[in-house]
């Protein structure tokens, strides 16, 4: 028999370039914030209040994207805000993913009583309206980074659990799982070595989506003033402040909004891009 295997070069697609590029930029900005931010993000100075971005008349060098009504540099605040946004995205996204995936896999693969317990729990959980739930939680836990992360995890693990459970159930009905059983593999081993690689693409897609969602949730909570203390700059906080003065200084609202939008979009596109590039089944 002739052997001819395709050597398909899989280019890093545009999608992956753009989304990955933006996120890397953001991570670098967050890491190097104290050194690259042109101004102190908290320094108030009434002489520099409401400066427009650099291309408009009346702009001042050093305030590239303008300043807000208290004279704080918008660019510097966005850069520092990235720290919080990324921490929330990474920590909350990962925790949600790990908890939801573990429960979903167990429910979907083991079926029987573990499934009944987990599914019932998910159903009850999802009966709570999520935003109310979050506000309630923060009210109880108090504001602060940890409470935001806990709130996100507590609300969103069910999304993972449900999707992964369904996926694990589908995969579990495939003969390759029966085949692992015939080979004498333990159930836990089968779950981790046979099922997990096959639900991994779904997990990655959900994870990146979740990171985007975490950024939004954090912004929303800041927006309603339930996030971190108002001292450290957050994108949501900036948007909520910018909203009040949008007629006098639109840039205070628009730049954080664009950043937020690009970040959330990049997270969701990153998932797709990674799948295109690395999933062997799509070759």
């Amino acid at each position: 028999m002739r052997d001819a295997r395709g050597d398909v070069k899989r280019p890093i697609g545009l999608r992956l370039w753009l989304s990955g590029g933006w996120l890397i930029l953001l991570v670098l900005a967050a890491l190097l914030a104290p050194w690259i931010a042109p101004q102190d993000p908290l320094a108030q100075d009434l002489f520099t209040s409401r400066l427009p971005p650099f291309w408009e008349a009346g702009a001042e060098p050093g305030y590239w994207l303008g300043s807000d009504s208290l004279g704080r540099d918008v660019l510097s605040r966005i850069i520092h805000g990235a720290r919080l946004a990324l921490i929330v995205a990474l920590v909350a996204g990962t925790l949600t993913c790990v908890i939801g995936t573990a429960l979903g896999l167990i429910a979907g693969y083991y079926r029987g009583w573990p499934d009944r317990i987990i599914s019932r729990f998910v159903d009850i959980w999802m009966a709570f309206p999520p935003v109310l739930f979050a506000i309630l939680l923060i009210a109880v836990l108090g504001t602060g980074l940890t409470s935001i992360i806990i709130a996100i995890v507590v609300i969103d693990w069910t999304r993972f659990a449900r999707v992964i459970r369904a996926e694990a159930m589908t995969q579990g009905a495939m003969d390759y799982v029966a085949s692992a059983q015939v080979a004498g593999r333990k159930r836990m081993g089968t779950m981790l070595t046979e099922i997990l690689p096959n639900v991994l693409p779904t997990i990655i897609a959900l994870l990146t989506l979740e990171m985007g969602i975490a950024v939004i949730v954090e912004a929303i909570l800041s927006f309603v003033n339930l996030s971190i203390s108002t001292d450290s700059p957050t994108w949501g906080g900036m948007i909520s402040e910018g909203r009040t003065s949008v007629h006098q200084a639109w840039w205070v609202l628009v730049f954080p909004l664009i950043t937020l939008f690009l970040t959330v979009l990049s997270f969701s596109q990153l998932g797709e891009g990674l799948k295109d590039r690395f999933d062997p089944v799509l070759r």
């Binding site: 295997r5 398909v8 009905a173 495939m174 003969d175 799509l282």
Partner: protein, 289 residues
């Protein structure tokens, strides 16, 4: 031109260079059955996929024409091509389980094409699906419509795909080993059903199979494929009486018959393999590959 499907000098290669199909030409007229036999891995399924435009990502058509109902598909824009193929051709895939969505019940998977593409009402489509399932000899069609794929036997899944392909009464059916999981009595009924549909609708059928017994019952013409190259194209009767190519003769000789239990199981002899391999290499050299 009168053939419903005509493939001319089709070349499909793996991206990265190696050829999978080498100058394949064949044609299927309305109401005719063209058989496709040959070594496993010779590229039979890829011919069907090339026609339907569903080649795996790693493969691409590099040369040749595919005429479907008088139109060269290669010259059409992708959307138009998909529309044309969707409206007139259907596939009975080789791998029933992967072709069915494991998470959905059977019913909607059969009726989807009728409802979505042909605009039938749901009730009509469902009635038609039940009727078809009964025609392909599935016991208790109503239960099967509400089952999930893994709750059915291999042969039942295969028959479901046959029913799904028939549902829309396409003008061309590409059947990729459609009866491998069927016992001979059911197989006989299915083949009769196909013949029946052909006389009623003039369906053209490209029939991939390994079973020369089946070929001798349903095909009008056939091509023998080896390593992506057509080594012999023949009228069915002529093929069984006097196969021209030694590979065809060897295939016929290797076919086991339950009537004669003593004959040994002989794979195609090495000398014949060497000869076709040489032909394929020659072909590649001439084509500058």
């Amino acid at each position: 031109m009168n053939a419903f499907l005509e493939i001319r000098n089709l070349c499909v290669t793996l991206k990265g260079g190696a050829p999978i199909l080498r100058n394949v030409s064949l044609s299927v007229s309305a109401g005719q059955v063209h058989g496709l036999v040959g070594e496993s891995g010779a590229g039979k399924s890829m011919i069907g996929k090339a026609v339907l435009g569903t080649l795996p990502r790693a493969l691409a058509v590099t040369r040749g024409e595919i005429w479907l109902d008088g139109v060269d598909l290669q010259t059409l824009r992708p959307a138009e091509r998909r529309r044309r193929i969707g409206a007139s051709a259907a596939l009975i895939p080789q791998d029933p389980l992967t072709a069915l969505n494991p998470a959905r019940r059977i019913g909607p998977q059969i009726t989807r094409r009728l409802v979505d593409i042909l605009g039938w009402s749901r009730a009509d489509a469902e009635a038609r699906a039940l009727e078809l399932l009964a025609e392909v000899q599935i016991p208790d069609p109503a239960r099967v419509m509400r089952s999930y794929p893994h709750e059915l036997s291999g042969g039942m899944r295969q028959r479901i795909l046959i029913a799904a392909a028939f549902a829309a009464e396409p003008k061309l059916i590409i059947a990729d080993e459609p009866t491998t999981a069927l016992d001979v009595t059911v197989q006989k009924q299915i083949l009769r059903l196909i013949a029946d549909m052909q006389t009623r609708h003039g369906t053209a059928l490209l029939f991939v199979t390994h079973d020369l017994g089946v070929v001798s019952k349903v095909c009008d013409t056939l091509s023998v494929l080896y390593a992506g190259k057509v080594v012999e194209e023949a009228q069915m009767r002529r093929f069984f009486m006097h196969p021209i190519h030694p590979y065809s003769a060897a295939l016929l000789a290797a076919t086991p018959s339950y009537k004669d239990p003593e004959g040994s199981l002989t794979p195609v002899p090495q000398s014949v393999i060497d000869q076709v391999e040489r032909e394929v290499t020659d072909h590649d050299r001439r084509a500058g590959l």
